[in-house]
Symmetry: D2
Subunit: 115 residues, 4 copies
Amino acid sequence: MTDVLDELYATLQARKNADAQDSYVASLYRGGLDKILKKVGEEATETVIAAKSGDRAALVHELADLWFHSLVLMAHKDVPLAELTDELARRRGRSGLDEKAERPAEGRPRTSRSK
Amino acid sequence: MTDVLDELYATLQARKNADAQDSYVASLYRGGLDKILKKVGEEATETVIAAKSGDRAALVHELADLWFHSLVLMAHKDVPLAELTDELARRRGRSGLDEKAERPAEGRPRTSRSK
Amino acid sequence: MTDVLDELYATLQARKNADAQDSYVASLYRGGLDKILKKVGEEATETVIAAKSGDRAALVHELADLWFHSLVLMAHKDVPLAELTDELARRRGRSGLDEKAERPAEGRPRTSRSK
Amino acid sequence: MTDVLDELYATLQARKNADAQDSYVASLYRGGLDKILKKVGEEATETVIAAKSGDRAALVHELADLWFHSLVLMAHKDVPLAELTDELARRRGRSGLDEKAERPAEGRPRTSRSK
């Protein structure tokens, strides 16, 4: 299902070299790094507010905004999506997460592990 | 490549019902919504700092932290990853984003529309 | 010099019951808690960006915005400014700060203290 | 009442040149700008969480943390408190703020002006 992210990232990258002056994304690129970062901060705050409000639809909306602007930031800085997912894959090998990595989470005997 | 996200999300969901007391993720769930949200806010700030520092490795690291804790939040609130990606897929049809994409995602003919 | 804060807080409190529909502050009160909190989060992010940019004038501007919206939040929640300053006064009694309170920092013998 | 802020700022400034290695504030200065900014972002998020929780005591606590770390940032960047309050004083002349204040701060006659 997350091909959506790959496609969205490719679209955002393509937009960087487009000459469109009128889209929201074009306005972000024109605004430069500070404008994009301001949006990342804003959407994080709005995610917190939506979650605390217990408004599920708003939460999904704000998380999508947060990830969307994260992808714009990555496109702006030429960080491929694969670099982010590689880093996340590494997270599974830390913090006790690794025990669940290779196979489904349920029904496996627990083995000792280091923290 | 983003199967990583699906797998990570499944792992995080499974951890909710695990009895582990000693992992970092378990400590987040134990801390509840406020603790998870505090981390989302923290990682957003650290993403901004890393981006402004021009430190590419740190930026990837902080973005991964931001998305990781977003996934923990989604697991905590039982929001499936598909709901987020569906919302992101909808983003491509707004804000003039897709009108400039080299290829529409689903191969359907593009029609003009107002913003 | 910080009478400015007292006066500004009093002004913000007075605005709450005013019937003006057209000022920026009135629009914040009308927007309610979420709108005010969104601004607090935004201004914190902009403070970080300005500080990292090394732009002193922008830093002062953003810090003023951050404190301004903090004061709007306090007025909205009926938290007197004195409650905040009392709490800050207590801070001086923690974290090793108190030893420096009454007199200049330099040239005094250090005595043992708990953290 | 806000002499507290002047005193706290002076204390924080004095701490910069102190040789203490063990206080919380000393650890912030040692951590440098990024560490201080990270705390500003953190406390802003915690302010939002406390306000949404409707926990008045927590709100005062988090706002005090936010202002405390703002003052540390100002001391670190050698921005006098007066510069911040001067900027805030200017805010009263904008956004229709003072037009509804019961009394002008300095007792001078009010003249009309555009927003």
